[in-house]
């Protein structure tokens, strides 16, 4: 009989018993509903073991690649260890290697992990500072090639963490990293010639920038369009780097959008949501859409691009939540 490890406890599984049934039989509570592999309520992540393909049916590629599976669809014949989806509890130490202003309200914080920390550009991690304050930020560089991780920290008036970055944090300081998490990233398996459309507001640019670098480093050949939305011109950042990338990369286009801007400038004036919706390609079957930024923007755009014809499976998103304690 195979043994199942779940939340630090061991359970036994009967012959051809599913992980979900085994846990429920032994009094463990695990989220579930349809028990037929459709509703995805019983989503879990493998820690040790070989997930069979039928336990990943219907899941996004980005979840499959991280070992997510449906507990009602897997009856292991070998010992297996699984967990509920969520951030890792174990924290890894890292040191701050650079702090640089990107614009009047965004700082770049570069951290260098002291041991292996594997994350994919576009995912997010939780950063814990020396005062024990923790916040989540997205990976904005080729973290699997570089030895460091770049994060974009927006200054929030009165924000405990962002003020720490602004006023107290110094190069060399120790911090801790937890995670990573999130399924908003590039995956070449779904086709390198498909069009990618990325839209974000504010520091939603961080994951999008990471995803673009990742796609280009994996030789994505389809057109890549980036829409970065800002309230005012001075809220845009990385403008020169992105303009240069646009000029030197034939399949990349950069569209800065400013809500309260001036006509005739280098950006488009107007609401990024409307600008993106009018720029959607005729054929949306293959189009992959990445949406990052505030929850209002992300949720509204998810719905609007879906209603405009994008396939739900091809919409990836990450909505930033600003903690009310900030």
């Amino acid at each position: 009989m195979p043994t199942l490890k779940f939340s630090d406890k061991s359970y036994s599984l009967n012959d051809s018993e599913t992980i979900l049934d085994g846990l429920l039989r032994q009094g463990e509570s695990a989220p579930h509903s349809c028990k037929t592999g459709v509703c995805q309520t019983c989503l879990m992540q493998v820690v040790e073991g070989e997930v069979p393909p039928e336990a990943q049916k219907g899941l996004k590629e980005t979840l499959q690649s991280q070992g997510y599976f449906l507990a009602c669809q897997w009856s292991p014949s070998e010992d297996t260890s699984v967990k509920l989806p969520g951030l890792e509890d174990t924290a890894i130490s890292a040191s701050i290697s650079e702090i640089r202003s990107l614009c009047h309200n965004v700082n770049l914080l570069r951290v260098t992990p002291e041991e292996g920390f594997s994350c994919v550009p576009g995912q997010y991690l939780t950063l814990v500072n020396s005062d024990g304050v923790a916040r989540s930020y997205s990976v904005a560089n080729l973290s699997h090639q570089d030895s460091y991780i770049d994060l974009h920290i927006r200054t929030i008036p009165g924000g405990v963490f962002s003020n720490w970055v602004n006023e107290k944090a110094c190069v060399g300081d120790q911090v801790h990293l937890r995670g990573p998490a999130g399924d908003c990233f590039y995956i070449a398996k779904e086709g390198k010639d498909t069009p990618l459309l990325l839209a974000g507001t504010g520091t939603g640019l961080a994951p999008l920038y990471g995803i673009i670098l990742d796609a280009l480093s994996q030789d994505h050949t389809g057109p890549i369009s980036l829409f970065h939305g800002a309230l005012k011109e001075e809220d845009l950042y990385f403008v020169e780097a992105l303009q240069e990338l646009d000029q030197t990369t034939s399949n990349f286009s950069y569209f800065p959008c400013v809500l309260n801007g001036e006509e005739g400038a280098f950006y488009t004036c107007g609401d990024i949501q409307e600008i993106v919706l009018t720029a959607l390609p005729e054929d949306k079957k293959e189009l992959r859409i990445y949406l990052c930024g505030g929850p209002d923007f992300v949720n509204s755009m998810k719905k609007k691009t879906f209603l405009a014809g994008a396939a739900s499976q091809n919409i990836y998103s990450d909505a930033f939540v600003v903690r009310s304690s900030e």
Partner: protein, 117 residues
């Protein structure tokens, strides 16, 4: 062959779910029931609904349907709207009329439980 197999099984559910959910979200009478923050989770629930309506494998009992919809306080018009979108989704996908009738019969059989009558 079962109804589910005749319609095309899981592939049919995957083909139908976007079409069906677009209709539901565009219908002001019922869209608010489905506008949860997480669209991905909502898509999975829509698949559960379609699998059940297509006669596919599921473990929902009438009691589950009653419990699962009770808090929504649904009325006859809501049920008719969902049933209508189900029917027109199948028509859009070119499903044979006699199979559509069978699906609509399954949906109708849940009527009293879904409306908590």
């Amino acid at each position: 062959m079962s109804l589910f197999e005749k319609i095309g099984g899981e592939d049919a559910v995957n083909a139908a779910v976007d079409v069906f959910y677009r209709k539901v979200l565009s219908d002001d009478l019922i869209s608010h029931f489905f506008e949860t923050v997480d669209m991905d989770k909502q898509m999975a629930k829509q698949k559960a609904f379609l699998t059940m309506a297509f006669g596919g494998p599921h473990n929902y009992t009438g009691q589950d349907m009653r419990e699962g919809h009770k808090h929504l306080d649904l009325k006859e018009e809501h049920f008719q709207a969902v049933a209508g979108h189900l029917q027109s989704t199948l028509q859009d996908l070119g499903v044979a009329p006699d199979l559509i009738d069978e699906v609509m019969a399954i949906a109708a059989s849940t009527h009293d439980d879904v409306l908590n009558l």
